[in-house]
Subunit: 389 residues, 2 copies
């Protein structure tokens, strides 16, 4: 593993950064012979424009032409909001309201932007209701999602900063979590600590894409990693507790997760913890440019199965990170793609045993020229993660 | 306006409540001759099952058949999570992972659930990537969204409770907001106060659908109602400040918004404030069962135009409330539907003048047999909303 010094970046994206992203999208449009590419997914629109929103009944649609500024269909109500946040050239096409009187609906304007004979790329995430109103010969192709997979130096810098924020959250979490602590107290203190760091570092952070959480799955529920704990869930002596600290920092998604114990390590948790740690070490050893991502997951799963926990695997080895905390590429059996420098992924093989608990560490990791480099930092070994009470 | 005493409800939905909702969906399926209805929208899935999630790369798909328990396609990882939260009968169809090896992907299982010759209803919100994998003769029709428009007594009770939570937030906001207060301080204190009430009232609240916010748009930005203020935005002497307090309370979305002044009311704000108040009074007067919703908006807009602010209207008179804080039905020009008892809407005509500010009150309102009834409560008149500093 390389250990080059990466610098955190907190500045908003430059116009050049955004136009480079658009150029990459246009290269793929040309490859697929597309006259237009339509983006409706808020994540992709944010990636290209720096304007964040969520889907609601009033549509926002980005129409990317072969040349010139993209056109953006926006509700009148939101036009100045978009203008304030977007950091690239855009041509605005604003509509009255949703719903609207005849002839003034969003689709009345949208229809005029695309020639009927054109070849039009659309996202697989595009809702049917928008696709039905999209003129032209439509092809589902996830071009922007594809461009997002390899990060620029700017994006890496933003992610390095985001990881520092969650490293702080993780540190606070391990410091305050004790038997009988309530979920709510941990969640509040950890989230607050991170939120404070974000606003100190980025006073103009966009709250729409800043969302930080820290929570612990106590042993009673740690075998069920996607069950959100209730607020009065108490921590317990022993373990495994599994913590999730992560979220978006002004638009950049990251995560750090640890399996830890309070006071003592129950005998029946030692073997699965060790198997998880070895599976994780295997993943780090295998992951480097040129290696097939799906095959890494297969090897890690096989290893865990060899240790006797084959039926205790419920998820892949990892997933991509970027603007969101969960996106392509995937370290998942059947995903036939090679690691490349500039990818950001989580590495987090897990073992889940009902009645005993869950075992998983996760880090946010950059694929480098030589291998991979963790951007998150926290204790990893069993001794460090057995907290005196 | 009726003023019957409505009781707040905090209990989770009974099996009967959920099966009544499903029955209503099936009545519409029969009307449209559908063999299956497919729900992918997390909001609709929550409505029918009480299981909340957000869309990510691993699909969750609810397949509603004419009879029997609906089938739910879920990632293996989430199966126990769904089982824990769902409060209706479901038949689970779990898949390996996303992505997955050949033959083990979500669509491999999904394909087997629907006959190729069947007539299949799908949501307009369904992403293209899911629609493409849906067998049968597909028709886009928003059946569940339609059923959601008229609320049951249970839903009204939950909304009454949610309104009490935000009433409290609004009260705290008006108490602490002073010139030079920072957005961040207001946001934290108001959100905390509401969060505390939620966990006191509903200790098992699902945090995935609990999300409370209170913020103020100071005069500098109150003309731009969808611009999220930055965290260091300071309040000012005078006004108009416009506050938004709302969000979801364990799955029920509501809002209360007020235009207020700190210390003094600038001369040039008096007329637009009065015009807004009169437009609002007109809306309350007009709104009752049998009246066309679009026509109310037209009349309210005409009234505001008569007062000289026709070009200062940037949104409709109101929108529906339910599981989300923004949904059908709409009080919007061109929306051709009549008010019915059991609808929940916001009433919030607004005037927005760059350089002066925004003018809008919003309340969460129930349509009753006789007219309508506000479920939110806070000061409304200019004198009460001119706060001594």
């Amino acid at each position: 593993m390389m250990s080059s010094k990466l610098k955190p970046i907190t500045a908003p994206p430059s116009k050049e950064e955004l136009s480079n992203r658009l150029d990459k999208v246009r290269i793929l449009m040309e490859k697929e012979n597309l006259d237009y590419y339509i983006s409706f997914d808020p994540v992709n629109i944010y990636y290209l424009t720096n304007f964040a929103h969520y889907i609601h009944e009033r549509p926002f649609i980005l129409v990317i032409t072969k040349k010139g500024a993209p056109k953006m269909v926006v509700p009148l109500l939101e036009k100045i909001h978009v203008e304030t946040r977007a950091r690239c050239d855009l041509e605005y096409v604003d509509y009255y309201e949703f719903p609207a009187p005849e002839g003034k609906n969003w689709y009345d304007y949208y229809h005029t932007l695309i020639e009927k004979s054109a070849k039009v790329g659309i996202e697989s995430a595009m809702p049917m209701g928008i696709a039905e109103q999209t003129p032209g010969n439509k092809i589902v192709t996830d071009i922007i999602d594809e461009v997002r997979i390899i990060k620029s130096d700017y994006e890496i810098g933003r992610t390095v900063h985001a990881c520092r924020v969650i490293n702080k959250g993780m540190k606070v979490l391990l410091k305050i979590c004790r038997p009988d602590s309530l979920e709510f107290a941990i969640y509040s203190e950890v989230s607050d600590a991170m939120q404070k760091k974000v606003i100190a570092d980025i006073p103009t952070a966009n709250l729409m894409v800043t969302n930080l959480k820290g929570a612990v799955w106590p042993p009673k529920i740690s075998h069920d990693p996607h069950k959100i704990p209730t607020i009065f869930e108490p921590m317990e002596e022993g373990g495994p507790h599994v913590s999730i600290v992560g979220g978006q920092v002004d638009g950049y998604g990251v995560e750090i997760e640890r399996t830890f114990f309070l006071g003592n390590v129950p005998e029946n948790t030692k073997k699965p913890f060790e198997a998880m740690m070895e599976a994780r070490a295997l993943a780090y050893e295998l992951i480097k440019p040129g290696v097939n991502m799906g095959e890494v997951d297969t090897k890690v799963r096989d290893f865990i199965a060899d240790r006797g926990y084959g039926d205790k695997i419920i998820h892949r080895t990892g997933h991509g990170l970027g603007i969101t905390g969960h996106e392509a590429p995937y370290i998942a059996e059947g995903y036939n793609r090679k690691f490349e420098p500039g990818m950001l992924v989580s590495i987090e093989p897990g073992i889940y045993i009902p009645g005993i608990g869950g075992f998983r560490h996760s880090d946010s990791v950059l694929i480098t020229n030589e291998g991979c480099q963790k951007l998150t930092r926290a204790p990893e070994e069993l001794e460090e993660l057995t907290i005196s009470i």
